[in-house]
Amino acid sequence: MAKADETVFLWLNGLVGKLPFFDRIVELVVSDYLIPVSLALALVGTWFAGGDKLARQRHQIGVFVALSAMALSSLVVFTINAAYFRPRPFVDHEVTRLFYAPTDSSFPSNPAAAAFAIAVAVWAVNRRLGSLLLAAAALYGFARVYAGVHYPLDIVAGALIAIVVTFLTFKIRDLLGPILTWVIKVGRIFCVA
């Protein structure tokens, strides 16, 4: 499995330099500030979406779930990172990097987990916007492999953690329901929810 992972990585990263324009696009996509900020801004937009009061409340609960799932996914990733350290691809291989050299563990990918947590939570309440965000998260994951800072399996594992954690967060939402409802009720006093 690890061998296949490395083979796919080396093939993808081997394409760097062949299409300079594509490389420039990947440099933008892989940035910490394009897709992560866009996904977070999408949550801001989701807060206001919904044709009526009930739909808006559903969207706003989706935002709460996204934030909780993002935090919980990061916690899971950090726990795994603490138990198992996988060196970054550029440590063990001859790699052309399009991104700075992170020093933390490669597996699982925390940026991928955070991006997928937001995308999956939004997808659960708004299929159209959610699909767009899922595509953005997948593109972000691809870019991190192409740019030489992650193996494909790191991204897949990060995405799977996010999907499971977001699903579980929606499941325990019923436990958090009274708190969420109360927060939304207080927000209504100030016309922000």
Binding site: F48, K185, C191
Partner: protein, 146 residues
């Protein structure tokens, strides 16, 4: 000269202004809009949301590690929160001023954000706070009892 953090704050602040305009337009929250025509509001929102990204990536190198001048995750989260909060504040002031005369019936005090379909944010907030000032004892009891 702006620092990386200031650039990031400006990126989030202006983009969030745009995203709020787009979201409010799709949610039918006229009281939040700077321009009342939905297409114009969405166009303005799109420009406000996209232009800061073009500026942000055009003015400097952005793939920088946090110990070399970039922002670490907690600082990014903090500045994102501040930028969004500032965008909310500016939206409150501008949309309330622009829509001050909007009067599609008195906003119901317990409508929350839904009141912004028919009234400016300032008017809806005033109506809500006035209602709460008069009924806080009864309503607080109801809120805390679920």
């Amino acid at each position: 000269m702006f620092t990386f953090a200031t650039d990031y704050f400006l990126l989030v602040f202006v983009s969030a202004l745009g995203v709020i305009q787009i979201g409010a337009s799709f949610g039918g929250l006229s009281g939040l809009l700077f321009l009342q025509a939905p297409k114009a509001a969405r166009a303005l929102g799109t420009v406000l949301a996209v232009a800061p990204f073009i500026w942000f990536f055009a003015v400097g190198e952005r793939n920088i590690n946090d110990y070399q001048g970039g922002l670490d995750a907690p600082t990014q989260a903090l500045f994102f929160f501040l930028g969004t909060l500032a965008a909310g504040g500016v939206t409150f002031v501008v949309s309330s001023a622009v829509n001050w005369r909007m009067d599609r019936g008195a906003p119901a005090p317990e409508d929350g954000m839904d009141a912004l379909r028919n009234a400016s944010w300032a008017r809806a907030l005033a109506a809500s706070l006035q209602y709460w000032r008069k009924n806080w004892r009864r309503r607080t009891k109801q809120y805390f009892s679920g």
